[in-house]
């Protein structure tokens, strides 16, 4: 029985699976189809690869909804994964001078791009037809330029494909040859191979207006030399024939230096797009996306036609209790503002109803909150698709394991949901307690300990707010104030490691004081159930002093609680 919530890397999915699972976002499609260079920023699991793949020619062509589109051959998206063994090769670093290193880095890149172009086009019926009358001429041109024999047996694109395979083989064989430390003399570049190839392809009328969009995936996996090469292409002046859409993680973003030492500039050479969406409530952009993803997976993989909220029902006791506390807060609001002030009463319910429930649970010796329900899962995901699928996968797996027959899983009982949420939350704390140095390259043992202490104190602080704070008891995000502190850069170093481990995310929003954009931090909400907190949170950011955070991390000193803390009430924005 296939688990509908498997979250393996999108690169490993079939065309049909991509079409089945992806939920289109027209905002991104518009940007990806433009002629501008774009950097697509998103944390691991936020759907970067899926977005690029969905907008590639190969997938578009197979999509019955889109393959009749008139611009199918006008905007040709070529997916170029960078997390392949070819990109991980390091032999060229053995060359003594940087110039040669750069040339081989570009050579591998260019081979991958050319292969991706040809692989995307060569088996498409319309393309084969369109090339028929031009095949011989193109083959002769290419054969002349690159001094390769004209193939009589194969088409132009097939010949290029075979030649690229051979080039890739020969290069790697020579560079790995134990008896040979020579430089590879036949190295290719964007201007010696890719651009002439595009020009040749555009000789075919079907492609005369085509714009090639290189969808460069996982650019954070590129080494410095490869990044410099990529940036040089971004800085290229003429983008009538091609543009680059580069997907990269937010942490360890590639540098912006080109191979000639220049820089690329945002706004001038490229535009940044943040893939993360507002995710504050079930009706937010992310809430709707999450609902569509789960519904589509249930339908396509498990043949279940159910709303996600019915597949992941809320524990009746939790639902009932929340209603009870809503009523308490409503009465309190009416007493405070009067029945006519409906908005104020609604705000009061929003702020306090859940807080009262979780506050009472925190103060009592009651068992763990029965965390359950689809909305709870959306909150726990912290706005990251992979985080949404992770507990769902384990819940489904637990149900399959407990079943004695082959009958369909029709829903995940609240008890299973609670148990898995607790287990995944505990596992996340265990990672912190064991030390992130066990899994993150840049993390030392001392930093691992500090990050644990920082998170431990942050959550204690949020708990104290839940119990005592008068206006924003459920705030679970923070900004850093008083940053002119000697430890600020070290603190940011710790936060970056936490981001690399997906225990912390950053968002950008408008600062309350001066209306400028500011970065704020969102701890992974899966950390909250173990400590009995509400993953639903509140539209508020706690302003914490750099020094207090540093003391919490280094000295395990509790973060001071101040009921009058300066908090910002603002919605996160789509584009940072």
């Amino acid at each position: 029985m296939k688990n509908p919530f498997e979250y393996e890397a999108a690169n490993n999915l079939t065309t049909q699976e991509i079409l089945d699972y992806y939920i289109e976002d027209y905002n991104y499609t518009r940007f990806l189809e433009s002629k501008r260079n774009i950097f697509l920023l998103g944390d691991r699991g936020s759907g970067k690869t899926m977005t690029l793949l969905y907008n590639s020619f190969k997938i578009k062509y197979e999509d019955p909804k889109r393959n009749k589109s008139k611009d199918l051959f006008e905007k040709i998206g070529i997916h170029i994964p960078c997390n392949t063994p070819l990109f991980h090769k390091k032999e060229y670093l053995l060359f003594e001078d940087d110039f040669r290193v750069q040339i081989i880095a570009e050579h591998y890149f260019v081979l991958s791009i050319t292969n991706a172009i040809v692989a995307s086009l060569k088996d498409v019926r319309e393309v084969i037809e369109a090339f028929k009358d031009f095949d011989e001429e193109l083959k002769e041109d290419f054969s002349y330029i690159f001094n390769i024999p004209v193939s009589t047996k194969h088409s132009f694109l097939e010949s290029i494909s075979r030649w690229i395979d051979k080039e890739a083989f020969e290069t790697q064989k020579q560079i790995n040859d134990p008896k040979n430390n020579e430089f590879y003399q036949n190295a290719l570049s964007l201007s010696t191979l890719v651009l002439p190839l595009i020009k040749k392809i555009k000789k075919v009328p079907l492609y005369k207006d085509s714009h090639f969009i290189f969808l460069v995936d996982d650019a954070h996996d590129l080494n410095t030399h490869q990044v410099k090469v990529l940036n040089s292409w971004i800085a290229y002046r003429d983008h009538s024939d091609f543009s680059l859409k580069v997907a990269t993680a937010k942490v360890n973003k590639p540098i912006k230096i080109t191979s000639t030492g220049g820089s690329i500039l945002e706004g001038h050479d490229y535009t940044n797009i943040d893939l993360e969406k507002p995710f504050y409530n079930k009706d937010s952009e992310f809430g709707n996306l999450a609902k569509s993803i789960i519904k589509k997976r249930l339908e396509k993989i498990s043949n279940i036609d159910k709303e996600p909220s019915h597949f992941f029902p809320t524990n009746p006791e939790l639902a009932e209790s929340l209603e009870k506390y809503k009523e308490i807060a409503r009465k309190e609001g009416i007493a405070k503002y009067g029945e006519k002030e409906k908005k104020k009463v609604t705000d009061h319910v929003y702020k306090y109803a859940r807080a009262y429930y979780f506050r009472d649970r925190a103060n009592s010796r009651a068992n763990l909150v029965p965390y359950s329900g689809f909305d709870m899962l959306v909150d726990l995901s912290t706005g990251i698709i992979r985080n949404l699928l992770d507990p769902c996968y384990y819940m489904y797996d637990a149900e399959v394991s407990s079943k004695k027959d082959d009958t369909k899983i029709e829903m995940i009982p609240p008890k299973t949901q609670r148990d898995i949420i607790k287990a995944r939350s505990d596992a996340m704390w265990k990672r912190l307690e064991d030390g992130l140095e066990k899994e993150i390259e840049a993390c030392t043992e001392s930093q691992g300990k500090r990050i644990y202490q920082l998170f431990d104190n942050l959550v204690l602080h949020f708990r104290e707010r839940l119990i005592k704070h008068k206006s924003e008891p459920r705030a679970i995000m923070f900004t850093i104030s008083q940053v002119d502190n000697e430890h600020y850069s070290e603190l940011i170093g710790l936060l970056k490691i936490a981001q690399m481990s997906q225990l912390l995310y950053t968002r950008s929003g408008v600062a309350k004081d001066d209306g400028r954009k500011e970065i704020y931090y969102v701890p992974n909400r899966m950390l909250l159930p173990t400590r009995g907190l509400d993953p639903n949170g509140q539209h508020a950011r706690v302003s914490l002093k750099c020094n207090d955070l540093w003391n919490a991390a280094v000295g395990n000193i509790p973060i001071p609680f101040n009921d009058d803390a300066n908090e910002t009430n603002a919605q996160a924005e789509l584009f940072g």
Binding site: N3, F5, E6, Y7, E8, A9, N11, N12, N83, T84, P85, L86, H88, K89, K90, E91, L93, L94, L111, S112, N115, A119, I164, D165, A168, F169, Q172, K173, I175, N176, P178, K179, L389, D390, Y393, Y394, D397, G435, E437, K438, E439, E441, C443, T444, E445
Partner: protein, 299 residues
């Protein structure tokens, strides 16, 4: 001092582990014609300042065996590669009967030595000393990013997906790290058979599966690195089964499996050898010395 031309050249890795010095004594029992010991050590750890350094120097001096301590930076594979190249090149006249004690040498360094030594001779002797016991606590921390071994990065086919063959060890976090880093379409987990050093519990199949479940497709196979061929035929079988992938092969299991993985690489040079570094090892990593395995590889 002994004449270099007549004796064996022995390579060892300096470590604070007891079996480093105890192992050298065992090596000498088996190769008493040893004329020079080349001791490789990591300048980024406390290896250059441990007790074993003095003990080795004194032991060799008494027996008129030449010694050379070679400083390497294990975190920099390019510099290390060049240094090992130069040290082997400087001894090329005497590399007739090279012996490598792999016990406390990192796998990457051992493979580099194989690469350079096999330019000059077709046969290498190797020795491995098990510890009496491993620490029951953590063994290593602060893992670096996985990396492909220089000149052994395989021949990647542009149209094939990535597949991994991993000979698993005691630390399942490293299994997860490998999957997260390379995002393979498929991983084949080779689990060491037997219950030595509490292997069944510390290297259980379930522990490794648990950390990669849902992220990639996988299968498992059983391997015995302590068998006569150190599991070579089993690895070759897996390589054959994974012909549709660009294979990245990694050894985290018993040290002896690095030998079979290397031999498998020589027979299938399209696969890539991968090393997963670690910056910190438990000072109590192992105690004492156990059985010794001695053998030879013909290239």
């Amino acid at each position: 001092m002994r004449n270099l031309e007549e004796g064996n050249l022995l390579f060892i890795g300096l470590s604070w582990e007891e079996r480093c010095f105890l192992g050298l004594k065992e090596d000498y029992k088996r190769f008493n014609q040893t004329s020079k010991v080349i001791i490789l050590y990591n300048c980024k750890s406390e290896d250059d300042d441990n007790e074993n350094r003095g003990k080795i120097a004194e032991y060799c001096l008494k027996r008129e065996i030449q010694t050379e301590f070679v400083e390497l930076d294990y975190s920099d594979p390019i510099l290390t590669w060049k240094k090992i190249d130069s040290i082997v090149e400087a001894h090329k006249e005497f590399i007739k009967k090279p012996v490598i004690d792999i016990t406390t040498l990192p796998r990457e360094i051992t493979w580099m030595l194989f690469f350079f030594i096999r330019k000059h001779t077709a046969r290498i002797y190797y020795l491995y000393h098990s510890p009496e016991k491993y620490s029951s606590d953590w063994l290593s921390k602060e893992p670096g990013a996985p990396r492909l071994l220089l000149k052994h990065s395989g021949i990647s086919d542009l149209n094939k997906p990535t597949g991994i063959i991993l000979l698993t060890g005691f630390d399942e976090i490293r299994t997860r790290k490998l999957v997260e880093y390379y995002e393979p379409k498929f991983i084949s987990l080779g689990i060491q058979s037997g219950s030595n050093f509490n292997n069944k519990e510390r290297n259980s199949k379930d522990k490794h599966i648990q950390v990669i479940k849902g992220q990639t497709n996988f299968n498992t196979f059983s391997i015995d690195a302590f068998s006569r061929d150190h599991g070579l035929s089993t690895i070759n079988q897996q390589v054959k089964l994974m012909g549709d992938y660009n294979i990245i092969a990694c050894s985290q299991g018993p040290k002896l499996s690095l030998l079979s993985l290397y031999r498998s690489y020589l027979a299938n040079t399209n696969i890539a050898l991968c090393y997963l570094p670690s910056r910190q090892y438990n000072k109590e990593y192992s105690t004492g010395i156990g059985d010794t395995v001695k053998g030879e590889i013909e290239f």
